[in-house]
Symmetry: C2
Subunit: 223 residues, 2 copies
């Protein structure tokens, strides 16, 4: 929608006759307000979690392992909505832990969207990955603002610690949670302590492979 906003602003100085001033600024003002509202709507920030957890809320088992994610046979290797989800986001934000876990897999770089790695301790990413990911530093709101300026507003927030930090600041807008029907009895938890309760609304639930429930929740607007 940028052209709507920019066009009237750029043309204004060259048409400065009295008659024009009398109504064009009003039209402009209305156009700017409508555009700003539409722009705000269309560019609305969406920080989204897409994660698999056990019935008891863990994202990795007691040894940090992920084998239990495969406990339900998936002969056709269905992706449970992952590609569709990735297609709808602008970029991925993850913590150092998740980044290093992904790097440790002996696979090609798995992400088709820009990846931003939040880290207080790293000064740079390993050279091997500098084409795949970028280091971002600062508070979460500073990082979100930096990414927004670059046009990344629909963000996949990944990794336990990162999701927990975002939730602590009430900066998660949606959560797509896939529950594997297993009690791990310990491990790395998806959720942690929060300074206050956060209400969500139910968007959708879907059953995959007759065993795995995926629930989509959206943060309830506080008006």
């Amino acid at each position: 929608m940028d052209h709507i906003r920019l066009a009237p602003l750029q043309n204004r100085n060259t048409n400065n006759g009295f008659k024009i001033i009398s109504f064009v600024p009003i039209f402009d003002l209305v156009a700017i307000v409508i555009t700003a509202k539409m722009g705000k709507y269309m560019k609305k920030r969406r920080n989204i979690v897409f994660v698999a957890k056990s019935l008891d809320g863990f994202i990795a088992d007691k040894n940090g392992g992920l084998d239990w994610l495969q406990s339900t046979p998936n002969p056709d290797q269905i992706d449970m909505g992952y590609e569709k989800f990735i297609g709808g986001i602008d970029a991925i934000v993850m913590g150092r832990n998740t980044f290093e876990t992904v790097c440790s897999f002996d696979i090609e770089w798995p992400y088709s969207k820009p990846v931003f790695v939040m880290s207080r301790t790293l000064d740079s990413l390993p050279k091997k990955y500098q084409n795949n990911a970028s280091l971002v530093k600062g508070s979460i709101t500073e990082i979100l603002s930096e990414l927004e300026q670059k046009g990344y507003t629909s963000l996949y927030i990944d990794g336990g610690t990162t999701v927990q930090s975002f939730l602590k600041e009430d900066l998660i807008d949606e959560m797509i949670i896939t529950t594997i029907p297993i009690l791990l009895g310990g491990g790395i938890p998806l959720f942690s302590e929060l300074p206050r309760e956060l209400e969500f609304e139910h968007v959708r639930s879907e059953l995959f492979l007759k065993e795995i429930v995926q629930d989509h929740y959206r943060r309830k607007k506080v008006n």
Copy 2:
């Protein structure tokens, strides 16, 4: 099926001729084996959890409160399957905490089925409740055996600590878990540490009040 088992056993002594012996005992044996198998199936132990939890797995908030259970408007006071569930069980087993919480509510005794209170510390239940509930003592397996002898085999296992103790011994067969779409960020957890992973299978999911997902899981048989 009791008449099938009892009838041949009672009639046997009166028909003891040679010809009868030659084939009737075999028929009897088959009948007894089939009946025992069917009886075992029909009398199969079912320890079932029916519980509401927050998105982050708490059954009570940081102050032990339950107000968040009402966060979704329920104008018609639908019971989300509770009465149907209660209709299908023989008795309720709860811990002292849950018992005392129920007693603290200023309501009539809410249970229509026999209630058994597990407690190591209580010597007897308060007189006021002796018609409503019975104290049971011993290990979980001793208590289950005692209840089974009394004909109670389909049990509603209630209360965080009690559910956790049953799960530690892999003695929960089904879980009906209702998830309220709120992150409490702390409180009394439904699940706790387990000595080993427990796999479940998905039975059914249902959405209530457009907001609340209820999932029914059954312990996966280990053959």
